[in-house]
């Protein structure tokens, strides 16, 4: 038995979707930076640097969230993928597993979104 109450994220659906929410913010800010830099300022390098910076930050946060979700998932040798019993432990691990998988998808999304800055060098 834990001494303190378990952290809110163990029973929170909001926390499970934190990583995709970070992706969403990354997306919105990248879109804004690209639009203003290319259309208003005609400066592709600002766009690329801005996106690069946002990407590093986003991946950092997603990495942290993913690690925390991994710990919550409590991966051990044995069956880690079935969370079909209505116990607190399984609910916590399910939310952790879901959060972890969503971190991977969000990281993939962030990386894909950032790819163009390595290949396209102008605003044309």
């Amino acid at each position: 038995m834990k001494d303190q109450k378990p952290p809110y994220r163990h029973r929170s659906l909001w926390h499970m979707v934190l990583a995709p929410t970070v992706w969403a913010f990354h997306f919105v800010f990248c879109y804004a930076v690209m639009s203003v830099a290319c259309i208003k300022l005609g400066a592709p390098d600002i766009a690329r640097l801005g996106v690069a910076a946002l990407t590093v930050i986003a991946l950092g946060i997603i990495g942290f969230l993913g690690w925390r979700a991994w710990v919550q998932w409590d991966f051990r040798p044995g069956d880690n993928y079935k969370h079909d019993r209505p116990t607190e432990a399984q609910r916590r691990e399910f939310l952790g597993h879901g959060g972890f998988l969503l971190s991977i998808v969000s990281a993939v999304g962030v990386i894909f979104d950032a790819l163009p800055i390595f290949i396209i060098e102008s605003c044309i």
């Binding site: 659906l13 992706w23 163009p116 290949i119 102008s122 605003c123």
Partner: protein, 867 residues
């Protein structure tokens, strides 16, 4: 739990304020096995039947139960689909041979516009809502949706709006600028066509948002006790994701419709490039809606597959977490793709590349779902029940559409095939494979649940193969037709282009599809009175819906079960017996009221046994008046429309007053299995609070879309704001902001003060809140009007005024809510203890205050910085 309080008693704390569950939870094995008295059981059944009985005769139309509303909704949506299908057949007749004059160009343009609009707005999303309304309560062991009258209201709005919009075709006044209605073509179109589209569809979109609110609240708050979030059926997960998507995807379109209609009726030039506007703003707003829309349409059908596949494999789904991950992942990522509909508009390559990459990224969670189904099929032993045939066909067609989608996500390739028949092929493959086939399979699968009889296996197979073959004959050639250069939306083509036999083939295919659908339709509606009733669980499924009663009972579920597994019918052999004998929760209706159990959002711990609404006429009246408010402006009858709107508000107020947040006689009730639950809850334990919260999230998104418009103009146009333009008066704007903050403060304080039983002070504060709101809105209006900002002169004053109109309308709503609470306090409906109305009003006010402040910044500060 005591009830008696005197006004001199010290103020109840938040804890005491809320009645709590009392007794045993979770139920012990002893309680579950306790035997049952047949006499008492018969009495309880009689009570339940009486409370839930379906009205008869012409009163049938006043029904609000999910079985009735869902059936009407589904049949109406299906009917609209058939109409849209007829339009498609007429289009194919016109295009079957070159240089055809079967339809004039004008008629053709109306038909393809209405085909797309009707299919997307009157069939795709409403069908999802209809099926969910029919099924969701059963999946969750609930008796009904959490807000039955809201479902009914949504349905009647949909029916009125749908008939109005589709009916325009019969009068040759249908909109004819494509289902996406790009300005300037659509804004400058003469006649009432675009207005019919705008107003008719805004009306329907509101119904969609109402349905989304219900579905989200249903999944989060009305699950059976014990059904923790990790053992919820996958359909419920999908409904949750799709509901949230609707909430964030529809509002940008509503905002766009709002601006579009302001341009058409008041000539405010949002999309007119000669006066500072930009047609691209519409494209952005439309596609921010349009792309998630197709996933909103696709995910629920995959949800049906997620319920059919385990039954066909006779084993639990493999990769439950993976599927949840995919659904949520697709839900988020699908909002980042919209510019792929605008690849040819000349935006910078960096921006286009960004969206090209995002469009590829979404393939990954989509693929994961499909592989999870395949894995389930592979791990189990598949029984090829008839619905599985439809699902297999769906996957075959959808994967083809998905693969062409991957091609289209590569922007340069899209530059070639955009707006050609290649796209028509792609969209029909994804829509038929992702929506129509799973839907038809789902109807075959769930038909015994809806009607207690089976559809014909033979007719089903004939219908499937006819539709499948016809579909491929029609749409497969279109890939080539598009690559050979045939653009979309062309009323005819010349015979020298080399498109002749391809088009003829597609037309023939179209008729074969129609035949297949008609066979299905016949199987659906043919009289089956002579057929024996179906067995209770004909497919041997494991989830809750198959515990339904045969023959049918109106109560939905005999008792609300305590659930401890994903597939209770497979894993607990005593389950069905207990359920039928009413040995779970709320097996009776001692006050003759309809009730539902409300549980906590993640762990489904019981929190309340709340009354829900029964049959009513006020919902139909409200829908009719709302219809008037939207439809009359099409014919420029603005004063009548305003009156109609007032009528709608009056009906809604009456409905809320008589049927929601009623002060209960006793604070709690015995729900069985040793548990007593409160019958009135407030705050985030209450479905009503969630409904307000969710609605406001959608509303805030629409508002944010208008703010996006401001930033869009600033980025895209050099003259925003124009040189020397008048700005909103700074002092009045500051006063307005102050007014909103004060009104917000007054509302919150009123809630606190009311809880401490100082009712007079609370009423005074509410009154002050009303005055501050009126002052704030008035100050904002004057701030725009006094400096002489003319909205029809340029997009800058126009969008400032648009923000003002928005805040003004919401301030009106805020005032109505405050007055409602005031009246409630006087009439004894709003008491220190039973204060849900005031709590929900306060929640609305958080959002309104924020909107007021942001608007003040946008009007007062931003333009001065940007100049």
């Amino acid at each position: 739990m005591t009830d008696s309080r005197t006004s001199s008693h010290p103020a109840p704390t938040e804890e005491e304020q809320a009645a709590r569950p009392v007794g045993t939870y979770p139920p012990t094995q002893e309680l579950l096995d306790a035997p049952d008295d047949p006499q008492a059981r018969a009495e309880r059944e009689a009570q339940l039947r009486e409370a839930w009985k379906t009205p008869r005769g012409w009163r049938y139309l006043s029904a609000v139960n999910n079985s009735e509303v869902g059936t009407w909704y589904a049949l109406s949506a299906f009917g609209f689909m058939l109409c849209a299908g007829v339009l498609a057949l007429l289009i194919r007749v016109q295009l079957a041979v070159p240089d055809n004059d079967f339809l004039s160009a004008d008629r053709f343009n109306q038909f393809f516009t209405m085909h797309g609009s009707a299919m997307m707005f009157l069939f795709a999303v409403p069908m999802f809502e209809a099926i969910s309304i029919l099924l969701l309560p059963a999946f969750l062991g609930a008796r009904d949706m959490p807000f039955p009258r809201l479902s009914a209201y949504g349905y009647w709005c949909f029916l009125i709006g749908g008939c109005f919009v589709l009916g325009s075709v019969l009068f040759n006044v249908a909109p004819k600028s494509g289902w996406f209605m790009y300005p300037p073509l659509a804004t400058e179109q003469e006649g009432i066509g675009p207005d019919i589209w705008l107003l008719g569809l805004s009306f329907i979109e509101i119904a969609s948002i109402a349905a989304a609110v219900e579905l989200i609240v249903g999944v989060i708050k009305c699950r059976p006790p014990g059904m923790r979030i990790n053992i919820m059926p996958l359909y419920a997960w999908y409904v949750l994701v799709v509901g949230v998507m609707i909430l964030f995807a529809f509002p940008p379109l509503i905002a766009g419709d709002f601006l579009f209609e302001l341009q058409r009726s008041l000539d405010w030039p949002f999309f007119d490039p000669d006066r500072g506007g930009d047609p691209m703003l519409w494209q952005h707003l439309f596609w921010i809606f349009g792309h998630p829309e197709v996933y909103i349409v696709f995910l629920p059908s995959i949800a049906i597959a997620a319920m059919v596949v385990p039954t066909a494999s006779q084993r639990p789904i493999v990769g439950y977490s993976w599927i949840v991950l995919s659904a949520v992942g697709v839900g988020f990522l699908s909002f980042g793709l919209w510019v792929h509909h605008m690849f040819t508009t000349g935006l910078p390559s960096l921006s286009l590349g960004f969206f090209s990459a995002a469009s590829q990224a979404v393939v990954i969670p989509t693929g994961v779902q499909i592989f999870a189904f395949v894995a389930t099929l592979m791990v189990g032993r598949v029984k090829m029940i008839q619905p599985m045939l439809w699902i297999a066909g769906a996957l075959a067609i959808f994967t083809m559409g998905g693969l062409t989608g991957v091609m289209l996500a590569i922007a340069p390739f899209d530059w070639q095939v955009h707006d050609t028949y290649f796209i028509v092929a792609h969209l029909h493959y994804t829509l038929f494979g992702g929506l129509v086939f799973p839907l038809l399979g789902g109807v075959y699968y769930f038909y015994p649940f809806f009607t207690k009889r089976m559809m014909s296996d033979r007719l089903g197979r004939i219908s499937f193969w006819t539709t499948f073959i016809g579909f491929n004959v029609c749409f497969l050639p279109m890939h080539l037709t598009g690559l050979l250069g045939m653009p979309r939306r062309v009323a005819s083509y010349s015979s020298e282009m080399g498109w002749n036999w391809l088009n003829l083939l597609s037309s023939v295919g179209g008729f074969i599809v129609a035949a297949g659908i008609l066979i299905f339709a016949w199987d659906l509606v043919r009289p089956k009175r002579d057929q024996p009733l179906a067995p209770r669980n004909p497919w041997k499924g494991g989830t809750l819906e198959w515990s339904h009663d045969v023959p049918a009972e109106a109560w939905g579920s005999r008792s609300v079960p305590y659930v401890s597994s994903r597939y209770p019918l497979w894993e607990d052999d005593k389950f069905l017996e207990r359920l039928d004998e009413g040995r779970f929760y709320i097996p009776d209706a001692p006050e003759g009221k309809r009730e539902t159990l409300v549980t906590s959002s993640v762990d489904a711990e019981p929190q309340g046994a709340l009354p829900i609404t029964g049959p009513a006429w006020c919902t139909i009246w409200a829908a009719a008046f709302t219809g008037g408010a939207f439809i009359l402006p099409v014919f420029k009858l603005y004063w009548l429309a305003l009156l109609s709107g007032a009528g709608a508000v009056a009906c809604v107020v009456y409905w809320l007053w008589t049927a929601t947040a009623q002060v209960p006689k006793a604070p709690d009730r015995d729900v069985g299995l040793g548990l007593r639950l409160p019958v009135y809850v407030t705050g985030f334990r209450a479905p009503g609070w969630w409904a307000m919260f969710i609605t406001m999230l959608g509303d805030a998104t629409a508002y944010a879309s208008i703010v996006f418009g401001v930033f869009f103009f600033w980025t895209a146009r050099p003259d925003f704001p124009p040189e020397g333009a008048a700005h909103a008066d700074a002092t009045l704007i500051a006063l307005s902001a102050l007014g909103f903050v004060l009104a917000w403060g007054a509302t919150i304080t009123a809630r606190e003060v009311n809880r401490r039983d100082r009712r007079r002070a609370a009423r005074a504060l509410i009154g002050a809140g009303v005055l501050c709101t009126l002052g704030a809105a008035g100050a904002m209006g004057l701030a725009l009007w006094l400096p002489g900002m003319a909205p029809s002169s340029h997009a800058y004053p126009a969008i400032m005024y648009a923000l003002g109109v928005w805040v003004g309308a919401h301030s009106g709503a805020g005032v109505v809510m405050l007055l409602y609470c005031l009246a409630g306090s006087w009439a004894g409906k709003l008491t220190p203890r039973y204060d849900a109305d005031l709590v929900n009003t306060t929640l609305f006010w958080h959002f309104l205050c924020l909107m007021g402040l942001v608007t003040a910044l946008m009007m007062g500060v931003f333009p001065r910085l940007a100049s």
